[in-house]
């Protein structure tokens, strides 16, 4: 393998990365410091008003004051995305473990079923939850069937929104976790029992550490899209509280403030990069320990 071949062989990959990833990000970064157009749009320039606006805005008086409202939106987004990720972990681990225990044929069928929802448009799937959670919807009827009181109001709550996020992204958790637990040698669990470890110890000391790479990968795959989610807050959350995704959308739409929308998008991107960097650092440290 000559050096030139290695260089030219990678050119298509680099070109693709440059055109589809780096250039668009640079454009968004450029727009975030551009000057705002009167009715939306922008003019190239250098103006950091948009970033200042994240922390300081003109209040109902004319003075520029510290305003935590955008920080609150960012914090809320992080909390909801974290909650969705945590719930996905709790649900995906037993499911993935169960699938891993099945016969080779059944495994294929079950994994196929996990990926099945991806064949249907996301909007349609989120709409299905409107029917399940809505007034006199499936959930309420089942609840009443089992003697529950006459309650309503599942829809348009943060709970409904997180349910939708968990539902949308959980296959992204199940698949990597399955890949990890499937490789666990049953002999290791037997060994832990031989050494007087109970079921709990086996789970904590054997299964969880071996499933950790899958759990980490799955958490990233769920957390990152949850940060930018738009459909669930709008349709299931009732649009009553802005999340970062919906905030960006309103800035490009109703607010006609593209630079500010781009600035928030850059903040979102930075958060994602931080998550990925933390994970990369952990992975390197683990690799060093293993050596």
């Amino acid at each position: 393998m000559s050096r030139t071949f290695r260089f030219w062989g990678l050119v298509p990959a680099w070109a693709l990365m440059l055109l589809t990833l780096i250039v668009p990000i640079l454009i968004v970064a450029g727009v975030s410091v551009a000057e705002r157009g009167a009715y939306g749009g922008f003019d190239w320039g250098f103006d950091i008003t948009s970033y200042r606006q994240i922390l300081f805005t003109e209040g109902w008086t004319d003075e520029l004051e510290f305003d935590p409202k955008y920080l609150a939106i960012i914090a809320r987004t992080l909390i909801f995305a974290g909650a969705a990720t945590a719930i996905c972990v709790l649900l995906a681990l037993p499911v993935a473990y169960y699938i891993a225990q099945q016969s080779a044929r059944l495994k294929i069928v079950l994994l196929y079923l996990v990926t099945l929802p991806f064949w249907v448009s996301m909007i349609v799937r989120v709409y299905a939850w409107l029917i399940i959670l809505g007034n006199d919807g499936l959930l309420e009827r089942v609840y009443r069937l089992f003697g529950g009181a006459d309650i309503s109001g599942f829809l348009f709550t943060p709970g409904a929104m997180i349910t939708g996020m968990v539902y949308s992204y959980i296959p992204l958790m199940i698949l990597p976790v399955y890949a990890s637990v499937e490789k666990i040698d049953p002999a290791l669990i037997e060994a832990s029992h031989d050494l007087y470890g109970g079921r709990w110890t086996a789970l904590r000391r054997v299964i969880l550490p071996l499933a950790a790479p899958g759990l980490t990968a799955g958490s990233i795959l769920v957390f990152v899209p949850s940060l930018g989610t738009v459909l669930e807050p709008m349709l299931l959350g009732g649009g009553k509280q802005l999340m970062m995704g919906t905030l960006i959308q309103t800035q490009f739409g109703g607010a006609r403030n593209w630079p500010f929308g781009a600035a928030i998008a850059m903040v979102l991107l930075t958060l994602v990069v931080i998550v990925l960097l933390l994970n990369a650092r952990r992975a390197t440290r683990q690799a060093e320990v293993a050596l």
Binding site: I27, Y39, Y70, L242, I248
Partner: protein, 337 residues
């Protein structure tokens, strides 16, 4: 260059249909153009028509600003026609030379949003207000106070997801001028909406028929003709006639600057504005027609469609200055923060 760059941004993926002959790409309010008429137009002219839909004027504006939208015909409301024209986003089609222009009712000619009638031919007009489900609510609907300062309706109200019409309605109720640049006045609007928020279950512009028709909410911010259609489909709904007034709108056909099929777009405007077709469109869309229609074949009259014939003041939405628009945005962002 700006257009080219923008077309590659992640945030606004744009469709780029081939600029082939015999095509017409329409971007219109959801379900606003009769599918039968589109089929008839295609049959008569051989032009292939593609229709995409939007559910707010802001969406339509953003799409055009992003450039290379690929659309030949868009149907924004009057204040957005003005903004689009001022921003140079529209093609000057000499609309006053079209036969469709002569079909127009005089009161829609030479208006502030298109004083020379260069850019637009109106397609429908009506009002924005609110509707109630009469199975869920049997109280009065003669004032915006029912919606904005709810007692019986609390916990069963939905508004739209965009500020445009909602803030205008709140301004009508409070007697605040549209597009005011006075912060103190807009603070009143904010205070009203903020006090109302606990009584609102959702801010959403999708799927309104179902939400209101099924009684999931008892009151919904909505449009006149949509309420009429839902009522005619059997739902027990009523369009409110608040004494403070309704928010008026008029949607027009406009051609985005640089559209590929301008002649086809003009042909479609002419087609939709003939008496026969305009009547069919009126019967389908159930919003008032700004062009001449055949009254003897019109399905909706003052007797069976009171929604379309308001007896309260109708105040048309204005194109706000950037400063005024910022205040509207501030109200909305602070409300939903």
């Amino acid at each position: 260059m700006k257009k080219l760059l923008l077309a590659t941004t992640l945030i606004l993926p744009v469709a780029l249909p081939a600029a082939a002959e015999g095509e017409l790409n329409i971007y219109a309010w959801a379900d606003s153009i009769s599918p039968e008429l589109i089929a008839k137009f295609s049959e008569e002219t051989g032009i292939e028509v593609n229709v995409d839909s939007f559910s707010s004027n802001e969406d339509a504006l953003t799409k055009l600003q992003a450039g290379s939208s690929g659309y030949d015909l868009v149907t924004p409301s009057q204040h957005f026609v003005k903004i689009m024209a001022d921003e140079g986003l529209l093609e000057d089609i000499d609309a006053y030379e079209l036969d469709a222009y002569d079909q127009l009712d005089e009161r829609w000619q030479g208006q502030w949003w298109d004083p020379e009638n260069d850019y637009s031919i109106p397609l429908a007009y009506g009002t924005a207000g609110f509707s109630v489900n009469r199975d869920k609510y049997d109280g009065p609907v003669d004032s915006w106070s029912v919606l904005f300062e709810p007692t019986d309706l609390a916990g069963s109200i939905a508004l739209l997801s965009y500020p445009d019409e909602v803030v205008s309605a709140a301004q009508l109720y409070l007697g605040v001028e549209y597009c005011t640049e006075d912060k103190a006045e807009m603070k009143k609007v904010y205070d009203l909406l903020m006090a109302q928020k606990p009584a609102v279950v959702a801010y959403t512009s999708d799927n309104i028929e179902n939400r209101l028709g099924s009684g999931e909410v008892a009151a919904h911010f909505w449009w006149d003709g949509n309420t009429l259609r839902l009522r005619n489909s059997g739902a027990h709904v009523e369009y409110a006639m608040p004494k403070e007034g309704l928010v008026g709108w008029l949607d027009s056909f406009v051609v985005p600057a640089g559209a590929a099929n301008i002649d086809n777009a003009k042909a479609f405007i002419e087609f939709m504005s003939t008496v026969e077709n305009a009547t069919e469109q009126y019967n389908y869309y159930a919003h008032s027609a700004p062009v001449e229609i055949d009254e003897s074949k019109a399905l909706y009259t003052k007797e069976n469609a009171p929604e379309l014939f308001p007896d309260v003041p109708v105040v048309f939405a204005q194109a706000c200055s950037p400063a005024a628009q910022d205040l509207v945005t501030k109200v909305w962002t602070d409300l939903l923060q």
